[in-house]
């Protein structure tokens, strides 16, 4: 006796195919909606701000007059901020991840630490701003400097970098570790020569996302007390500065309609900045991407 009747199968086949197309349609729609929102956003900002984009916009300082307002201080300030955040957050973040995954024994204390690092990733950025204000600005008397804001931002994105790096390190096959240790390599040699090269694509993906967040975040900078109207460039990490999101926030909260245009131009610059960083990440990732 046969359990499967071909006629039944054919009859049901049509219904199954229809269900398949319905779901395909739903998923496509979801993707399209997200894409649409993005396109509308880009369209609005570009049509609004493109007219104001010019070399002057990039080389002028902020101004009371919208037609003269430029983004120079904020752009350079954001670069300075990155110069502090990227090395600080990467070294601390990847270092912690290596320690937790490769060196730390699994016990209650380290389990507790692991769980809480993930929790920290969910803490609102304002709270990190308050932390930065208390520790870096006041206690360590760094003031509203690049260093104080940079450390604050580093703390903010550290949990994300640690978790992403842990994930990347954990996904390196254990056999590679065994193979290296089995030849008398030390743990450190194994980490540097085998684990990190294999984990770098994953580490970078997480880290660049985190750094992008640091570029775009406004709340911690406001809490720390970073000024907006600045007519000079910082000449070192101890100088005060302003950053792209601060400047954009300031422009967009002004009553004059003309400043909305300036804000849109600022957003275009910020997005170009992010795009640039992401492409660097993609390039490095492709360079290191190896099969295993």
């Amino acid at each position: 006796m046969r359990y499967i009747e071909q006629q039944q199968v054919v009859k049901r086949m049509n219904g199954r195919k229809i269900i398949n197309s319905i779901f395909k349609g739903i998923f496509m729609l979801a993707t399209l909606l997200a894409l649409l929102a993005l396109v509308i956003l880009l369209y609005r900002i570009i049509t609004q701000g493109a007219g104001h984009l010019s070399l002057d916009f990039l080389t002028n300082f902020a101004s009371r007059f919208p037609e003269q307002a430029g983004i120079k201080a904020a752009l350079v300030g954001s670069l300075w901020l990155m110069a502090v955040v990227a090395p600080t957050a990467l070294i601390l973040g990847v270092g912690s991840a290596i320690y937790l995954e490769e060196y730390a024994k699994r016990n209650r204390v380290t389990d507790f630490i692991r769980v809480n690092i993930s929790n920290l990733a969910g803490v609102p950025s304002v709270v990190f701003g308050l932390l930065g204000l208390t520790i870096f600005v006041r206690a360590l008397a760094l003031g509203t400097s690049v260093l104080a804001a940079g450390f604050t931002m580093s703390l903010l994105i550290l949990p994300v970098i640690i978790v992403a790096s842990q994930e990347a390190i954990r996904s390196v096959p254990g056999e590679l570790r065994d193979a290296s240790l089995g030849m008398g390599a030390t743990k450190w040699q194994t980490i540097v020569k085998i684990i990190l090269p294999a984990a770098i694509p994953g580490i970078l993906t997480g880290s660049i996302l985190a750094l992008s967040r640091a570029i775009g975040e406004t709340a911690p900078l406001i809490v720390v007390g970073i000024p907006v109207i600045i007519q000079f460039l910082p000449s070192g990490v101890m100088d005060t500065f302003t950053a792209l999101p601060m400047q954009i926030y300031d422009w967009s909260s002004r009553p004059q309609q003309e400043f909305q245009v300036v804000a849109a131009a600022g957003i275009i610059v910020l997005m170009a900045f992010l795009l640039f960083m992401n492409s660097i990440a993609v390039i490095i990732r492709n360079k290191f991407n190896k099969r295993y």
């Binding site: 089995g182 008398g184 040699q189 294999a198």
Partner: protein, 271 residues
Amino acid sequence: MTMNSTAIATDAVIEQDIVSSNSVYKTNQLNLWYGANHALKNIDLDIKENEVTAIIGPSGCGKSTYIKTLNRMVELVPSVKTSGEILYRGRNIFDKSYGVEELRTRVGMVFQKPNPFPKSIYDNVAYGPRIHGIKNKKILDEIVEKSLRGAAIWDEVKDRLTENAYSISGGQQQRICIARALAIEPDVILMDEPTSALDPISTLKIEELVQELKKDYSIIIVTHNMQQAARISDKTAFFLNGEVVEYDTTDTIFSNPSDKRTEDYISGRFG
């Protein structure tokens, strides 16, 4: 360790072998636990140099655990506790002062599944010499060629040394792993079921290779293929439930075992 002193040590080993056959490993009353699981029980084994020692037994009897204890890789499992001693060339490898990296430099290991690094064939083989400090390109070239020849794979890969080791077949990958182990000029080679993931022809090649290698190295090989043990080994240890039931020359084990359980196992009555 420099390559020179290693080479001299290997020569000395060969000379000694002519005079008398020495022990490389003496295991005395070894016990090992994974947490509460008593995986190795009172193991006593005396392993001779320049011989192939096969370890056979049913799955889960502790073969892998034992061979991984010989280079202390088993300690990577956090719950492991041991007692007893393992003397490698007369020194207890569990001694606090015994450097685990030094031990693993003398005792190479080939794993069950080929595990090349995601690097070129050349870089795979050069990995060991490099981590032990050899930078000279010419010397590295020589070591790589010698090791690949030693692993009987030179002719197959000599034109594609810069290709990723993942681009070759599983059997070839396993011989690359053997070449990689040879490149640090070890004294002992541990192999944990090195052919279980391979096709019959690759298996045959590796078996022939083992015969060739025992001239220069002492080889300890885990296998659950009894014909393989009979074909390639000089001594055989039969493990069961974490104990050594019988340890003797391979001929004796397979033709005239003294323990009933050994006889049952090799005649295929269980396992």
